[in-house]
Amino acid sequence: MQAYTEIDNSKARSSKNKVFQYMVIAFSVITISPIVLIIYKLIAEGYKQLSFRFITENTPSTFEAMTAIQNNELIPGGIANGIVGTLIMVLMASAIAIPVGMITGVFLYENQGKRYANFTRNISDILQGVPSIVLGLISYMWIVKNVTNGFSALAGSVALSIMMVPMIVRSTEETLKMIPIAIKEAGLALGVPYYKVILRILIPTGFSGLFTGILLAISRVIGETAPLMLTALGSSVINTNVAKPTSAIPLLIWEFYNDPNMIGLIWSSSLFLMIIVLILNTVSKQIMAKRNK
């Protein structure tokens, strides 16, 4: 009996257990605090500038911004050139990346376990890990130097599309894998041609998953700055010629950050960008939640 009481350390163990649990909770709270702090900062500093004008007017010149600051007014103008540029580049990047990514994803799904398919999947995974600045440099060497002979929206889109492809490949393959194989076999058994099975059965059945994957890919590239610095460069007016330098919202934030007179615009532009990213994320989450029901 004596020996037992001596090794009974259950009290110490249980209090250790409690302490550990509190530590886990405390650290988790620390982990999520940056998101709260960042969003708070964006709203607190950025909301004043957000207005209809902000999304319909071009960026002001440094001088205009300086005068406004001296007169204690809000900086005039907005980020319309960036919004249009981002829209153009993301649309073009999607136009390149969605077909390539989806068709490659279908290919991988149809060739499970085959050597060439596994190789392609690995290469696609490696592409996904390539830092975005390297992709910017690649697009500079390919498009800026050889195709448009100067910085251009096209070069920016190519860099963004190389980022998007591996994400779409993966989400397409994962989505298709979740579709019950019987549905596909039913189509094949009825003699439906292969391409129709893909277009009429696989893609409609997995539509919500495919769409979510695309939205997430877009939300990832929409805030990319580094590759665009090397490719699209920026422009102070709205530009719709894809062979000419074009602005984007993140590029504008970078410009504002580097210009002491424009500092007042960084938070509102970031807030605007963050709202778009949040909307894309929420919509895709909603779709996913609906599908899982």
């Binding site: 886990v24 988790s28 900062k41 390539v100 068709i103 696609s124 600045i133 490949v169 700055t225 950050y257």
Partner: protein, 283 residues
């Protein structure tokens, strides 16, 4: 030819695009960096000179490789306790509860914040805070970058660990509970050993992310082309030297930047490859 065959060929052709892009990338990076490697040889990797003065141009990548590796390692060390605790919170303590869903969504949101916004926040919020603490006088440098990088990679490390911890079979844990183990003992003697390779892989992939980060680091590291000699000193990273110096680069300098991009490509490729291999072995 029947339509099935055409479809197959069509799919094949498109899958080939991915390979061509990847192959073309390696080809262009190697081709572009030849002048730098021809001039400096293997010394390019080990030299710490970065001198763009015409006539005595000399470029070396060591300060940037060192800067990238120190910031990323430090970020990983800072990130570990936070994301490990969070994955236990989500995958073990409050598994399936509402609070876990809320926290999980917030952690995912961290991955959605653009790099440049992290940079702004680091510059205008974290940097003054560190100065106030008296840790740094300028607030720029390795430590500031690592702190922000740590926040940025938390979602990547957390999501994989949570998933793996979630997958540890319940009977294993219940057996330990029935022997009288406390939750903490179950975590360290059952859950973590069973999930360890997955958790490890998650941190490797997060490390790969940190290495390629550009904007936030560029805004915070101080952009001094020197070996970072202390935790609080300024330095430069591979990605941020490309972003910073690209604008005025041509000739040998451009080639040196492309060579740095090639090294960056190789390092991230190897790290991601190792991470993926560990994950594959688990299945």
């Amino acid at each position: 030819m029947n339509s099935d065959k055409i479809t197959k060929i069509f799919l094949y052709t498109f899958s080939f695009i991915v390979l061509i892009v990847a192959g073309g990338m390696v080809f262009s990076l190697v081709g572009g960096s030849i002048p730098a490697f021809k001039t400096f040889g293997i010394n390019f990797i080990f030299s710490k000179d970065w001198n763009p003065t015409e006539g005595k141009e000399s470029y070396g990548a060591l300060p940037f490789i060192a800067g990238t590796l120190t910031t990323s390692f430090l970020a990983l060390i800072i990130c570990f306790p936070l994301s490990f605790a969070t994955s236990l919170f989500l995958g073990e303590y409050y598994k399936g509860k509402r609070v876990a869903k809320v926290i999980g969504t917030m952690v995912d949101l961290l991955a959605g914040i653009p790099s440049i916004v992290y940079g702004l926040w680091g510059f205008y919020v974290l940097r003054p805070f560190l100065i106030d603490l008296g840790m740094e006088n300028q607030g720029f440098g390795v430590l500031t970058s690592s702190l922000v990088l740590a926040i940025m990679i938390i979602p990547y490390a957390t999501s994989l660990s949570t998933e793996i911890i979630h997958m540890v079979p319940n009977p294993l844990k219940e057996a330990a509970y029935s022997l009288g183990a406390t939750k903490m003992e179950v975590i360290f003697n059952v859950t973590v050993p069973a999930a360890r390779s997955g958790i490890f892989a998650g941190y490797i992939l997060a490390f790969g992310r940190a290495i390629g980060e550009t904007m936030a680091v560029t805004m915070l590291i101080g952009n001094a082309n020197v070996l970072p000699d202390k935790f609080f000193g300024p330095g430069n990273s591979m990605a941020s030297v490309i972003a910073n110096q690209f604008g005025e680069a041509d000739g040998l300098k451009l080639s040196s930047l492309i060579a740095i991009a090639l090294l960056l490509f190789l390092i991230t490729g190897i790290i991601n490859g190792v991470g993926k291999m560990i994950i594959k072995k688990m299945d």
